[in-house]
Symmetry: D2
Subunit: 398 residues, 4 copies
């Protein structure tokens, strides 16, 4: 998919908040990662494409050197988009040549890391441009398309799991980030997991019951955020003549009752759970449940760019939508697994240093590449973040 | 101990930062808690001592009603100290009368909670007044006393623990906060815990090695804090003519090499551990280690108001200083135990709603009452907090 | 008058906003000024009362040295009030001795400046403690007293002045601040000045006509302030059950229709004038008008601590209330007079460096000493300030 | 001149600070002004080009309606540049048609106002894009051109003026903004005005004498700004290997000693003057001096986009560079002239409501159109603004 095909030159440069980056920056930064961690590290005579790109497109790798201030990524009209594309072409050619010439195992592993890194940024390009367009009163459309009519969903079924001494974390030979390692034991009490995600209809019931006005449902930090941000509904929702509308990458549409609620923060998910007399699953509960399931779902390849309603096909006791549609907030703070070791060198700054005040999300969303997903994958965002395709499901003690 | 005996009337009213409260407010708030949760809840004809105290001295209990803004506690010259003491006397008398008349089990449990609540605030009075005096260029002395000369300490010994399937959390009949419940299983890998706390000499070595200037040791949020706060040493340290001095409640004194480093944030403890090639223990590792140990140490009753150096007495393999001296930062985010249920009613706001972006500290400090401490006790503060008597010890994977 | 006689020890230490200072600080700072500019400058063997008071009680005289941060004046519980009174006694005795021994003309002029400086701070003590009490939900009373019932006022008469080439600024031998000098020529168009101040009833009419909701009446900066501060009425006004109340130093009372509107900012005065189709007078217009009038009025000696309604006594064409009751906002930015020279030395920092983004107020208020006032006196505050006793009158082009 | 000819599409959209606007926004806003104040006001059947442009491109005219938030102008990737050019074409054609059909006097005057408004924004496009490029570490060049070598300048001569009762303000039939009216009398003391602008060499001497480190030269607000902004040199200056460089629209170049100092704030001009024992002229002094001089100088038509050094040609006693090169800060706060009346209707919001906390600048700069300039022209900016081509000259009391 050419993700940028429908964008205008002007769209590529906007940074709508410090946490989101311009599309052009994503394009340059992922190229910078290949140039820095692969080409410059491997080729003794490699000459940087531009002497200042190392500064401009370094995100947060202090080991590499000082970086351009994150909130000012949107001030860079230069390099132009054309120049960035030339940069990408230049680096792509060199990496291809390196691969063709054959490279050692370490270099190959860094290239693989670079590819997964680029996949992450592809997803971020979608979530970030959605935020850009949401800041524009014209509400531009990213990609014109008719979304299928929303399907009905079933009543929630609570699928029981026995818990006990389990193992989570990556094992085997496939690719994984350092934060998924090592595989390790943990003890779980029995739990009963909702077979589907919480829906818009259910979230509307929470709202109707004063969900955003009653502090008793909220974590203290969450309640402060509700007040300072004047939250009264999920992100990208707008009230128009008494009806809730929702901004999608295909334009505004009325909120569909049966679709999974999306663009909610951890705080909202957690408050909803308390209101509902349930809780959010831990990441271990989620992983134990998801591990045996096939990695299928509404990923970016499905081209909806929107979470959709699901219904059980035939007789199954398995939870639905564990993969795709929305990233699922878990109750778990993002912390190192027992025995965690960051990758050596600058790439060790990729994950470990962010293990503070974030919550783990699992399963991927409609903006994630299917090939990027696995049961042990740990995504993480601050508890107030809403611009990802983030939703949740509930769990009960077993 | 009359904690306030050395204070001037003027000292009682100062709020030096939003997170700390005036001594007078602590006196009134703990009384308010008895009045609200015991007297008003129990005595059908109880008449509030003052109609607006419920608003003024409510800390964060939304179930009770709106409260005076936290950062403005220092603006209240009225009620005066005398009036607050009259308030305390009034409420104390009513509670005593209630106890004498005999009260039901629930009321008794709330009174017990109120006593523990008051013990916590006694400790906060000390840490808060220390912060007040540290903001005054005159560096007033809270209590004149000669501290004993610092003792030598031993090289760190790493005490090995087998881990495995363990149980932590409160059990039995004694008092515990809701956040220590329920007792539950968890799985630990083997670990080797330092037999003593990290010392000032060790922290000075970290500083000398560029500890506060090298981002590679720090969590990303920690590094930002170092920058914005211009941290270059622990809290209350001052460089005077090339020598580090340290503010104590008994005045300024040179930093003693063998004393435990104190008034460090979680960020600093965590950075130090990374620099030292070790890590911070989890709260489970700490609790498993501490459970069999006697609850003895340098608590507030010892009257030092200052963490001191310890040396093994005789042959022992047990860690020293698990209790008292300094609260020990653990690696554990403050989250609910599996099956956690907050207390019913307004007192349920006491602990649960703060389970976000805080880290657990264990063991009590030189400002804690010995009778307030137990192995399952979970204290919690934000990762940047330094005004508590907080230090740390290291652990290695076993 | 013993201005502090009704205060509790606790009241003396509160700083309710950076622009206002604790009473105790006022007491110490004015003493510091005598100590620094008189004693230390004159007596070769003078020994400072306390080595750090120079730092603590310097307000903004860089020539003297670095000063304690202004917003942190309320954090100083020490020196205690008793110590400050001892400081005052010590310095008073030395100054008295110096005067008795006879001093040169320059020293005498600095002592005179010190006395006027102290008079200013006496007024600020009143306005600042009013702000402190207004921040306390208990609304403490500064001085119990029954205010006389409000009188009726007359319809506004517009007193005509011919303008022309005039002279303003101080002349003669009495005391004046440097900013009142030199006396100089200026040209005025004819004008017609309101014979009385704008009243609460008139301001209520402005409010009823959407005064605080219609941007067309406001300077751009003023409108921003209305939005960010949510202004809907003058300072210290509170709506209780549909009736506007007003906090006075003698407690809350209903807003009296005929009293001068008070505690309004320049922005509000200016917006009101635009709404009324008039304008605020320049300071030259005010001074030319006031110069021939006797300096009589509702000053602090009258002991109302509150602006009152006035009525013409007998046949007079003269404007009323030019002196006392409320400081009158003028349209004039606070700038140097042609030929202005600041006093030499540190006392030159007293006035000149504040000649930016402030507006001139004239005439004194119910909190000003009568002996402190003169027709050339230039007070100045930022356009958003409301905690002074500030009101206004209107003028029309002639 | 096609001002935008050298810009890339990406350059048009950047907003580098709230006070500066994207080039694209300038293009759309000036068109919006014609559409709103001319077409919509005149043509009964005029249909807006786009229903939301009224919201997006309204700058600050509340009479017209709510506007897009100023700091968010850089978030609008749509409308694209092409769409904005279509908008301009559409409105241009309609205005042309209106003019060809003949329009009444009022409409003609509004069109004339619109043209002057557009001229102002042409200048702002230059100053704003300079700021954009200065925020980019690549320091892009707006227009490649070789600047002529700097000329020597003469020692300052002080040209004497008698002052007395003068008249300033616009008279006659040419165009003027409402803030230049009415022509009115004012009284001036004699003065001696510098015959040229303060140069870089002179400003370097101020810097070498600790100009940016000594509070005694600064207004209190100016000194605060020096501290918070860490000012140590004029805007756009950079120290490279011990040599000061200066960013121009033609790239970086070493600071030239004889060129007028530029991109200084009012605070710096005022501090320099105090250091030099002189002062800044009032706007009346400037206007009385400039009125008889021909409006010639280094304006945008000269195509330097940079202030240059001047030397007297032949024998002349007249001041040089009164027009062009740099806007000259005056000592005068921006206030209404006696008898000032804003234009009726929405265009009355153009000038009057900004008469607060700004200082008047006179004479135009190298970015101003010569035809836009006149001796009565009052420009105004906040005292801390540095992104305009702003410099100053000194004056002495006569």
């Amino acid at each position: 998919v050419d993700l940028c095909g429908t964008l205008e030159v002007e769209d590529f440069g906007i940074q709508s908040m410090p946490d989101a980056s311009p599309t052009k920056w994503h394009l340059a930064h992922t190229t910078w990662a290949f140039e820095t961690f692969v080409l410059a590290a491997t080729l003794s005579h490699y000459h940087a494409f531009h002497p200042q790109y190392q500064h401009l497109f370094n995100s947060y790798y202090y080991t590499i050197g000082q970086m351009h201030a994150r909130p000012e990524r949107g001030l860079l009209s230069r390099p132009t988009l054309d120049e960035v594309y030339r940069y990408r072409k230049h680096v792509d050619e060199h990496v291809t040549r390196l691969l063709e010439a054959g490279c050692d195992e370490h270099t190959a592993s860094i290239i693989l890391l670079g590819i997964h890194h680029e996949q992450q940024h592809q997803e971020l390009m979608l979530t970030d441009i959605k935020h850009v367009f949401a800041c524009n009163p014209l509400r531009p459309v990213f990609r014109e398309q008719r979304l299928p009519p929303a399907e009905p969903v079933e009543e929630v079924r609570w699928v029981a799991y026995p818990g006990g001494l389990c193992q989570i974390g990556h094992s085997g030979t496939g690719f994984a980030y350092d934060n998924e390692l090592p595989r390790h034991k943990c003890y779980l009490e029995p739990y009963r997991l909702a077979h589907r995600l919480v829906t818009n209809a259910e979230h509307l019931a929470f709202m109707a019951d004063g969900g955003y006005e009653r502090p008793e449902f909220w974590l203290s930090d969450g309640w402060k955020t509700v007040q300072t941000e004047s939250w009264a509904a999920p992100g990208y929702w707008e009230l128009r003549d008494g009806q809730w509308w929702f901004m999608t990458l295909s334009g505004m549409r009325p909120v569909e009752a049966t679709e999974p609620v999306c663009h909610v923060s951890f705080y909202e998910a957690d408050a909803y759970a308390r209101w509902a007399g349930a809780r959010l699953p831990t990441e271990a509960e989620w992983e134990i449940t998801a591990e045996p399931l096939p990695i299928r779902g509404n990923f970016v390849e499905a081209n909806t760019l929107h979470p959709v309603a699901h219904k059980s096909k035939g007789v199954t006791e398995q939870p639905l939508q564990m993969y795709g549609d929305v990233w699922e907030w878990t109750a778990s703070p993002y912390t190192p697994y027992p025995g965690f070791k960051p990758l050596p060198g600058a790439v060790g700054e990729y994950n470990g240093k962010f293990m503070n005040d974030q919550r783990v999300l699992r399963g991927g969303s409609c903006a994630t590449l299917q090939s990027h997903m696995r049961s042990t994958y740990r995504n993480f965002f601050p508890p107030e973040a809403r611009w990802q395709f983030s939703g949740f499901r509930l769990v009960h003690d077993g």
